[in-house]
Every structure is written in structure tokens, then in C-alpha cells.
């Protein structure tokens, strides 16, 4: 996610000549360092590929493409079949559940939901957190301390309880409103919207603190003082001089926020407060699979595949986050 550049760049050798000629911007230097970190970079690459794959997934079951694909790829997550609890085979690559629904399609669908929730949650946290933190750090003084006390107060609220209350109380009215305003098809999205709001609302706090800390130190730096002397407006200083220097930290932190939001969502779905059936996110699928663990007979695919997908996603996000952090804040300067 942190990687906005298409992957074909990766195949080219690093432009070493350019380094000798012009001093590189911090962003480009970090990018080059990141490309050299093997684990982080391959994890990021894998993530990008799987996002593309998941984006294309719904089209596989479309009738114009489906005949050309292997049967196992073309199931819809809502189709009921007679193959109850079928193990992984040629027909159903990941097996089926109690209703005979194809697990591969359910895992793909669940991963889409989990990723969207993670991305939107992270985006909300970036928007609120960066604005709040930058303003607090830049303005300073009394405003700064007030804004940070607000953050402290929100920190004190137990996040998961807040989200549970939010979902439980607003679910029905929001659903009714959505249906009245936009028509019948939007009912199931109410829960997702609430999840976005709730998860975003609790995940921006740390972001705001980090950004504020950065801004505090940046605004005392020479180049900021210089542009202030030259008569630049506050907005220009913030947008042109301070924020570009903050992005590195923000990007790193975002890659760590996404997994935590995904985990939150999985946890809520596990409790039955997240996405509503028949749709399912990864956490929900796992909760479904846990029931089938016992001493006599275990339908292992129901827990292994969704669990593997979640673990894989989280691992990839964390690895690329690690790689990015090392790239932005190198411990020992290699170049």
C-alpha cells in the first residue's frame, strides 16, 4: 500500500548515475533503500499483486469470462450447493462450508471486505490525525495543549467498547435512513459505514501525536524560519515546507495502522458486530471455522484458509511497514 509506484520500476537496475550527479530528495533516497530491503519490498510487492487480484476477483464469476477459467475460480460466495463440507478438491479449491458455499470465494470476498475496512480506516486516521497533529504542533502554545488534551481524553476511552456501543446503537437508525434516502440496496452497508467511522475515530489519535511531534521539531528548523522571514503565509509553510517532511513517518505509520484496523474489524466480526451474514469478513470466517474444531472430526480447511489469509495479510503489511521505517530512518547510513 505504501508503494504508489507500479512494480515494473523494481525490475530496472537502480539509476546509480543519477545519484552521483544530483543530490537526491529524501523521498527518493528512502525509496531506493526500501527497494533494497528484501523482505519488506517483496511483501509490499505481494500485497500490491493481491490487491490487484482481489480487485479483479468479482469479474471471474462473470459469464463472459467464467468459461475460460478453471471451475474453482468462478464460484460466487452466496451460491448454495449440495456439496456440504467438501474438502479441498478440483471443484472447490479451498473446500466448502455447511451450506455448500465455496470457501475460496468466501475467503476472497472476506479479504476484500477486510482490506477495504483497513484502507478506509487508515485513510480516516491519516486525514484527521495529520490535520489535527499538524495544526497543534504548528500553532503551539495554549491551542496545542488544548488539542492534545482532547487526544488524551479520547485515549482514555476504551476503543473497543466505544465501537461496540456505536454499532449497537446506530445500526438500526442508520440502516433505516440509508434505505429511506438511497433505496433498498444500501441496507447492508450501514454496518460497514459504522465500522469505518468507529475504527477511523479511534485510530487517528496516535497519528496525531506522531505528526505533532514531528511538526514541533520541524518548525524550529532553519528552512522554516527562512521562509517565514521571506513572508510566506502559515498555510504555505505548513503545506510546502513542513508536511512534505512528515509524509515519510506518516506512510510508515499507515502500514502499521491498516493491520491493527483489520484486526479490530476481525475481532468485531468475531463478536457478531461487524459485517452481517451472508457476507463475511476474514474474522467472521475464522469464527465460523473455530466451531468445527473437535476431537472426532475436524473440517480443517474452514479455519486454515481464512486464518492463513489473515495471517498472510497482516504479516505482509507489517513487513513492508518495517521495511519502510528502515528506509525512512536508516540506523546506519549506508549510502
Amino acid at each position: 500500500m505504501a508503494d504508489p509506484t507500479p512494480s515494473r520500476l523494481a525490475k530496472r537496475p537502480a539509476p546509480r548515475l543519477a545519484r552521483a550527479a544530483v543530490p537526491l530528495s529524501p523521498g527518493r533516497r528512502a525509496w531506493r533503500r526500501f527497494r533494497r530491503s528484501r523482505a519488506g519490498f517483496s511483501a509490499a510487492l505481494l500485497l500490491c499483486l493481491s490487491v490487484l487480484w482481489l480487485g479483479a476477483w468479482p469479474f471471474f464469476s462473470h459469464e463472459s469470462i467464467a468459461p475460460y477459467l478453471p471451475r474453482g475460480l468462478t464460484w460466487s460466495p452466496l451460491t448454495l450447493t449440495d456439496a456440504q463440507f467438501a474438502g479441498p478438491d478440483r471443484e472447490h479449491w479451498f473446500g466448502t462450508d455447511v451450506h455448500g458455499r465455496d470457501l475460496l470465494s468466501r475467503v476472497m470476498h472476506g479479504a476484500r471486505i477486510s482490506l477495504v475496512v483497513g484502507l478506509v480506516g487508515a485513510a480516516v486516521s491519516v486525514i484527521i490525525g495529520v490535520c489535527w497533529g499538524a495544526v497543534a504542533g504548528y500553532v503551539g502554545g495554549r491551542w496545542d495543549s488544548w488539542m492534545m488534551r482532547v487526544v488524551d481524553a479520547l485515549y482514555a476511552v476504551p476503543a473497543i467498547v466505544l465501537i461496540i456501543v456505536l454499532v449497537a446503537t446506530l445500526q438500526t437508525p442508520l440502516k433505516a435512513w440509508l434505505v429511506a434516502r438511497w433505496g433498498t440496496d444500501l441496507g447492508p452497508t450501514a454496518n460497514l459505514l459504522l465500522l469505518f467511522v468507529g475504527l477511523g475515530a479511534v485510530s487517528w489519535l496516535t497519528m496525531a501525536r506522531i505528526v505533532r511531534g514531528q511538526v514541533l521539531s520541524l518548525r524550529e528548523r532553519g528552512f522554516v524560519a527562512a521562509s517565514r522571514v521571506l513572508g510566506a503565509s502559515h498555510a504555505r509553510i505548513l503545506l510546502r515546507h513542513i508536511l512534505p517532511n512528515v509524509w515519510g513517518v506518516v506512510i510508515v505509520y499507515v502500514t502499521l495502522t491498516i493491520p491493527s484496523v483489520i484486526l479490530y474489524e476481525s475481532f468485531l466480526s468475531y463478536l457478531g458486530l461487524g459485517v452481517e451474514p451472508p457476507y463475511a469478513s476474514l474474522g467472521y470466517l475464522i469464527a465460523d471455522g473455530v466451531v468445527h474444531i473437535n476431537a472426532i472430526r475436524t473440517h480443517w480447511w474452514l479455519i486454515v484458509f481464512p486464518g492463513g489469509a489473515l495471517v498472510g495479510t497482516l504479516l505482509a503489511l507489517n513487513l513492508s511497514g518495517d521495511g519502510l521505517r528502515n528506509a525512512w530512518e536508516p540506523r546506519e547510513e549506508e549510502d
Binding site: 455447511v98 433498498t184 473437535n294
Partner: protein, 555 residues
């Protein structure tokens, strides 16, 4: 009144030593206390002597007071401690003489004269008299007792008025002492199932002295005077309830075991493990069977499945369009593939339900309901103005979270309706108590429901859909139905009564269709028939403890 799958019976369990999150030094103290407690337990050493029978009974009982208890697990124990005028036959579950050795019924079926056994005594001594029964029944009806089951005594004259506070004098209730050992009962209507009601633990006789002396805690002050086949030895919450044979029971000579342990358990996998390791002899709660393994388990000789008096069904909210149209409701009923639900989801050998009353209830022959006819269903929906489901408004299917089964059935129904009728629905999941509230306030479109019969007569199922019954919960009001039900219950001739009930049920399941029966519940138990005898399958799932025993070891 008993609802299956009710999670509200489960007490919050807290493992010993798991205190409220200790802080700092508290942690050490807690740990030290825990260790000390463990050592003390080890020190005492002597585990209680083993019982003749160990039974997994389901959730921890909420109460063992006959007037208070409602859950099936509680009633099983209560019935062993306290007996009523009649008791259940171990084989077929029909009422047979209990503390009353015989009775006379008047011509019009409204007056019963019970002759109590003169030799029947309390376990602490003292004869059981008609006065004790009058006291016990008045206690159930007294609003101050707070009995949820008081309704089953409303068949007595003036009982309902007394319970509702309309009359203050309990002397007016239709139960009185005719002689020391003779009890006279006057009923509102000829109630053919009244002897069935008398066998329920709610109507059992309870010890007046102990209750008046100890108040609410009378069951915790040993010795508890009991009238049934067993005495209460210990009741350790979340550990075990131990019963021992009551030597003063009137038929004590035929009680087949001395000490019985009943263990609480709510996890099906724990239950299976305890059984497999032979830590328990009998598991007799349906919720203690792992549903996913049923196909394997039912093939074993020690798993026993048999039909019981319970129906899983759907309610329509007939006050909300489009479900105010009977054609829509009939279409929905005919689009359901009940067979698939039974064979794929519930998998306990359940029988598909076409009528609301379970087969064989009180000798009643069920009328034929709607069968699966997708063609007719589509046609009905088109007649109602929604050809092919076009224009059908969004609706919600409500279910509760008491068991994963509810959700699985919901998913199946959603797809069936979509595929056969082209209507789109949403699934709405609610916690058990909120779900009951939503159902009571008619805040739903379609919802899942279930009902367990309280006595062996179709009335226990059919009277709840009369217009003003508190359990109707569909908004459906049909004067014809009310009329038929009232006529039936005033009828003395059993054949004529059956016809009237059949007519009423036909309206319910074929014409107006405020409900759709899906399947009949199955009773499930596991015990080794080579080691245990005295358990007989019957539709009431009644297995009196006194006749169950381990088989003598073969020489």
C-alpha cells in the same frame, strides 16, 4: 413456555481464582490466596464418594423451587425432589397416579376429587395432606411468588382473577380441602389434559413449614423436606447437585439407585469428552450434542434420537405489508425446502413439519398443512401483485444468537426465497433477550421461533395463537379461530373436540398462515444401553431418575 435453545439459563461462570483484574500487590495476594485454596482442597483430600449414576444435566439450574423453575434442566431435578398428584410414566410419559392414589371426575369434566395416599409422608416426617396441596397451589398463583408458570393453573376457577389481583381472597380459587386426604378441584372448563398438568413440577406439593421459616432460602437450609423420590444432599454451584434416595418416599422400595450426581455443563464438546472418558454415564440435554458430528454420532448405538413435543417455526408480522396479505405468506411457506434444512443443517433426524402440532400429541391427528410447491408459490405471489418478486419491498428475517443453527437456517431461507420467489431479504441478528422484546413488540417482518409443549395436548400449541394470548406475537387476530378454540375446550366429547381443534389448526397452517412450521424437534441423549437401563424414549423427554440404573456387571 419452555423455549429450547434459551441461553438465559446459563449462569455466568467464573473459574475459581479469576478475580477482578488485580492491580500491583493485589496480584500476589490473589495468587497466594489461590494457592492456599488449592492446598486446602488438596488437604481435605477426600473427594466425595462416587455416585451410582452421574448425569450431565445441561445449564446450571436457576432455581430448584418448583414454583419458580422454568428451564428443562431445572424441571428434571425438581421433578425428582417434589411430586404432585400425578407423575409421569417412565415409559410413555403419560400421567399416572402419584401422591394421589385415585381420583373421581364429575360428569361435566369440571370437578376432580383426588384421594391422596394416606401413607405418603415428607422426608422429614409428617403426613402430606390436602392442605399442603392447597397451600402449594395458592403459592404458585400468588403474584408475590413471581412464578412464570402460574398460567398453567388458570384452568382453575377464579385462579386467573386471583393472580391478576382482581380478587384478594385465595379461598375463592377452585381448589379446597374436602378431608385430610381428599382434595377437591373445580375447573373453569372441562380440561382433558388437567391430569397432565398435575404431573408438572410446578404443581408439586412443597413444604409449608420450611418455606414459611426460611423464606426464599428454604432450599439452602438442610434438611429440605421433600415429597419426591430423592432428597437434596448438596448443591454446589457449577460443580454438582447430589441427590440421594428418599427412604420415606411412598414407593421407596422401587427406587433403583442410592446416590445420583447431576453435573451442570453448557459446552457440547466438554460433554462429549466427559462421556467418552466415562466420567459421566448419561448426557441428556439436546444442547450438549455437537451438531456438526451428528452424522457420525447418530450411527453409534449409544446415541438416542427420538421425536419430542417441540416445533421450530417462522412467525410473520401480519400487521406489516406485504405480509398482511395471506397470499404472500402462503407463497413464502410453499417456497421453503424444509427437507434440505433438516438433512443438511439440523441433522438430528428431525422430522419435517407440515402441521404446527407435533405428531402423536395427546392422540390427536394433525391436519395436513402446506407442502413445498414452488410453482403455486410463484403464482400466489403474482396474484398478490409481485410477479417474479418485482416490486417486493425489502424485508428482514430476524433471528437470535442463541445457537449457530439459527443463522445457518436464516442463510438457507434467504437463498430459497430469493431463488424461488425472486424476493430479497436481509438477515437481522439479535441477542436472545432483545430478540424476545422485538418479537413481543412486533418489531420484525419475519422471524424464527420455537415452542416446546408443556403438556401432552394440542391445546398447548394451539391456544397461543388466539387473538389476545401473550404468546401470539404475530398480530394475527381471527375471530373464527378463537371461536373454534373456545368451543373445543368446552367440549367433553373427545372426538368432537379433536375435529374442532383440527379445523382451528387448518386455519392456522393452511389458510391464514401467520406461521410456517419448519420441523419438529428431536430429543437427543447419549448413554451406553449395555450399561444403563431405565431410560425410555417418549415425546415428553421425561426420564424419571428413580427407574434409571446401571446394569449389574455380567459375571
Amino acid at each position: 413456555m419452555r423455549r429450547p435453545d434459551s441461553p438465559e439459563r446459563t449462569l455466568p461462570t467464573r473459574p475459581a481464582g479469576a478475580c477482578q483484574r488485580p492491580r500491583g500487590g493485589g496480584l500476589f495476594r490473589t495468587a497466594a490466596l489461590g494457592i492456599a485454596a488449592a492446598l486446602a482442597l488438596l488437604g481435605c483430600g477426600s473427594s466425595p464418594p462416587s455416585a451410582d449414576l452421574v448425569i450431565l444435566n445441561g445449564a446450571e439450574p436457576e432455581s430448584l423451587d418448583p414454583a419458580i423453575m422454568t428451564a428443562q434442566a431445572d424441571l428434571r431435578i425438581g421433578g425428582s425432589l417434589f411430586e404432585g398428584l400425578t407423575r409421569f410414566d417412565p415409559v410413555d410419559g403419560n400421567p399416572v397416579p402419584g401422591l394421589a392414589e385415585r381420583w373421581e371426575i364429575s360428569e361435566d369434566g369440571r370437578v376432580y376429587l383426588f384421594h391422596l395416599r394416606p401413607q405418603a409422608v415428607w422426608s422429614t416426617g409428617g403426613s402430606i395432606t390436602a392442605d399442603d396441596f392447597v397451600y402449594s397451589w395458592r403459592r404458585v398463583l400468588d403474584p408475590a411468588t413471581g412464578s412464570e408458570y402460574a398460567g398453567i393453573l388458570f384452568y382453575l376457577e377464579h385462579a386467573e382473577a386471583y393472580h391478576l389481583g382482581q380478587i384478594a381472597d385465595p379461598g375463592q380459587i377452585g381448589v379446597r380441602t374436602a378431608a385430610t386426604h381428599r382434595l377437591e378441584v373445580r375447573l373453569r372448563d372441562p380440561t382433558p389434559f388437567f391430569l397432565d398438568l398435575c404431573a408438572l413440577p410446578t404443581l408439586a406439593v412443597v413444604p409449608r413449614d420450611a418455606i414459611e421459616r426460611h423464606g426464599d432460602r428454604w432450599l439452602l437450609k438442610p434438611p429440605v423436606p421433600v415429597s419426591g423420590a430423592y432428597e437434596l444432599v448438596t448443591w454446589r454451584i457449577n460443580d454438582r447437585i447430589r441427590l440421594s434416595r428418599n427412604p420415606r418416599y411412598w414407593e421407596a422400595a422401587r427406587t433403583r439407585n442410592q446416590v445420583v450426581d447431576l453435573l451442570p455443563c453448557i459446552s457440547a464438546s466438554t460433554a462429549l469428552n466427559l462421556y467418552e472418558t466415562k466420567a459421566v454415564d448419561i448426557v441428556w440435554d439436546k444442547n450438549l450434542v455437537p451438531v456438526d458430528l451428528l452424522d457420525l454420532l447418530l450411527a453409534r448405538p449409544d446415541f438416542h434420537a427420538y421425536p419430542v413435543l417441540g416445533t421450530y417455526f417462522l412467525r410473520f408480522n401480519v400487521t406489516r405489508p406485504p405480509f398482511n396479505d395471506a397470499r404472500v405468506r402462503r407463497a413464502f411457506a410453499m417456497a421453503i425446502d424444509k427437507q434440505r434444512i433438516v438433512t443438511r443443517i439440523t441433522r438430528g433426524g428431525e422430522q419435517v413439519a407440515h402441521s404446527y402440532t407435533p405428531p402423536g400429541i395427546g392422540g390427536y391427528r394433525n391436519p395436513e398443512g402446506l407442502s413445498r410447491q414452488p410453482e403455486v408459490a410463484r403464482q400466489l405471489l403474482a396474484e398478490a401483485g409481485f410477479p417474479g418478486g418485482t416490486g417486493f419491498p425489502r424485508f428482514e428475517y430476524l433471528f437470535d444468537t442463541s445457537s449457530r443453527l439459527q443463522e445457518q437456517i436464516a442463510v438457507e431461507l434467504q437463498v430459497m426465497w430469493q431463488r424461488e420467489l425472486g424476493v430479497r431479504s436481509e438477515l437481522r441478528k439479535m441477542e436472545w433477550k432483545t430478540y424476545l422484546v422485538a418479537q413481543g413488540e412486533l418489531d420484525y417482518d419475519v422471524c424464527r421461533s420455537s415452542w416446546m409443549g408443556d403438556y401432552n395436548d394440542p391445546n398447548t400449541f394451539l391456544d397461543m395463537f388466539m387473538s389476545h394470548n401473550g404468546n401470539n406475537r404475530t398480530g394475527w387476530q381471527e375471530p373464527r379461530y378463537d371461536q373454534l378454540m373456545r368451543q373445543a375446550n368446552a367440549q367433553v366429547d373427545p372426538l368432537r373436540r379433536e375435529q374442532l381443534l383440527q379445523q382451528a389448526e387448518t386455519i392456522l397452517i393452511r389458510e391464514a398462515v401467520p406461521i410456517v412450521p419448519l420441523y419438529f424437534y428431536t430429543g437427543l441423549e447419549y448413554y451406553d444401553p449395555d450399561r444403563i437401563e431405565g431410560i425410555y424414549p417418549n415425546i415428553r423427554a421425561e426420564h424419571p431418575l428413580r427407574v434409571i440404573a446401571r446394569k449389574p456387571a455380567l459375571p
